[in-house]
Amino acid sequence: MKSDAFKPFLPLVGVAGLLAVWALATSLQWVDPVLLPSPVETGKALWKGMDGGALGHDFVKTVYRTAASTAIAAVIAIPLGIVLGASEKVYRSLEFVIDFFRSTPASAMFPLFLILFGVGDETKISVAAFGAILVILFNVAYGVMNARKTRLLAAKVMGASRLRVLFDVMLLESLPQTFVGLRNGVSLALVIIVVAEMFIGSQDGLGHSVFEAEQLFDMPRMYAAIFAAGVLGYGLNLLFLLIERRFVHWSGK
């Protein structure tokens, strides 16, 4: 009983441990303080940056780009994935192409997209969307294809038409796998956006913030930006998990 009460707080032990080791490492000067500022210093930089500073603006920009690319990817990939998954023959004939581009690092496409869209948000968002589309597409198609045969048969026996089976059964059956795709897709989109912000003549965004801090050797600001990116990645994943739990309540049951 007693140990159960502490259970929700167990994850905090790791956080506290990490902070303790970090504080110890800096105060005892195990590491050059220029390379690794103390947690307090980093925290101050984070607070200053987020509270009306440049970091807050960069954070919002990265959120906007990641959200835009994921939204575009979802709008394209989910209907396409359902169509592909509904016919195994169609999927099998496109599987290699999808797998190939899914395995191609999206960052290798930057120059191509630069030529297509120029230096601007469109390039970053479209490269990230490209990466996320393939991940989401792959998962949605598999979700539809792996719909329980019994459930499809049950719907058929009850007189459901092919279209009905698609909307009443296949679509809902694929939702848990679709959310796996969305979670992976948004993580990948964030990675691509942050990398793009570092290198393609960016003026803002978390990637830009990290890169600029490194150029200026402003280490507390750099760690603050890295930490902000981590919070964003974790938050996005958590957001999709919560949405899934709310709308796909049967997932995993």
Partner: protein
């Protein structure tokens, strides 16, 4: 070779059915010249069978003889290679029927509450929502089944889920009900309870019912007749009437007549298993 006349004889020999003693019953389902093969395995070759109206038929036989295949073909889940199956002279698409799967977990829709699962077939028949609700409530009241139908299937026990499946099959007021090993995924306690429920439902509705079972005691306990199949290519090894009156109870299991019938079925089964 040709067992068709034998199966017909089993019926026309006039073994009095417990329900309709003396009255001559028209067969409900007539199966003629049914053939089906999977790859090189011939499951059915020119198979004939009459299923009498308003009776509960258990199908029993050696593993892989095609028990489930038979009802799957009759219920239209698998196309036959050849043969004709008529229900009062009508095709499957002209009648209403219910089908209960062995795997209730995968047959129910986890995104719908139990109530909406049960009324789903009515939606397919384009019944208005208000009437769907009314008819579902009526069925639940009629069967006297006490279940919280606001729950999702995954919040229910296995037996409760299978009860929901059975009610979903009954909602259309089917002329015939098929059950494919409906209790084999349940524990023994639940199986006993479900047998009782199914018997009650059958006595309430009198729907022609075809039950595939892998448990001989269950097959005999529930049935008006036990259809014993041979090894594939499956033929009717015997079509044994079970005369015990309903409602059958635990006492029925030790009734001498019941025990004799069960022993006879086991004999036939053993003979068919040994026949290489």
């Amino acid at each position: 070779m040709n067992v068709a006349p034998q199966s017909v004889r089993a019926l026309s020999a006039g073994v009095p059915s417990p329900h309709a003693a003396g009255t001559k019953k028209r067969p409900h389902v007539t199966i003629r010249g049914l053939s089906k093969r999977f790859g090189n395995t011939v499951i059915y070759d020119n198979f004939d069978l009459d299923i009498p109206r308003g009776e509960l038929i258990s199908v029993f036989g050696p593993n892989g003889c095609g028990k489930s295949t038979l009802i799957n073909i009759v219920a239209g889940l698998i196309p036959p290679d050849a043969g004709q199956i008529l229900f009062d002279g009508m095709r499957l698409d002209q009648i209403k029927f219910g089908y209960v799967f062995q795997n209730y977990r995968e047959a129910l829709f986890p995104w719908l509450r139990a109530f909406d699962n049960i009324s789903y077939p009515l939606k397919m028949m384009r019944v208005e929502p208000a009437e769907r609700r009314a008819r579902t409530e009526q069925l639940v009241a009629h069967l006297g089944i006490k279940l919280n139908l606001d729950l999702f299937p995954y919040q229910m026990s296995g037996g409760q889920q299978q009860l929901v499946s059975i009610m979903r099959a009954l909602i259309v007021e089917p002329e015939i009900l098929f059950l494919d090993e409906p209790f084999s995924a349940l524990d023994y306690e639940m199986t006993l309870f479900m047998r009782e429920q199914l018997q009650r439902i059958f006595m309430e509705t009198g729907t022609t019912t075809v039950l595939v079972s892998h448990d001989l005691e269950e097959a005999v306990f529930l049935a008006d007749r036990v259809l014993l199949l041979s090894r594939h290519p499956a033929q009717v090894a015997d079509f044994t009437p079970v005369v015990a009156p309903r409602p059958r109870t635990d006492a029925t299991l030790s009734d001498p007549e019941f025990v004799r019938t069960k022993a006879h079925c086991l004999d036939v089964f053993q003979r068919e298993v040994r026949r290489a």
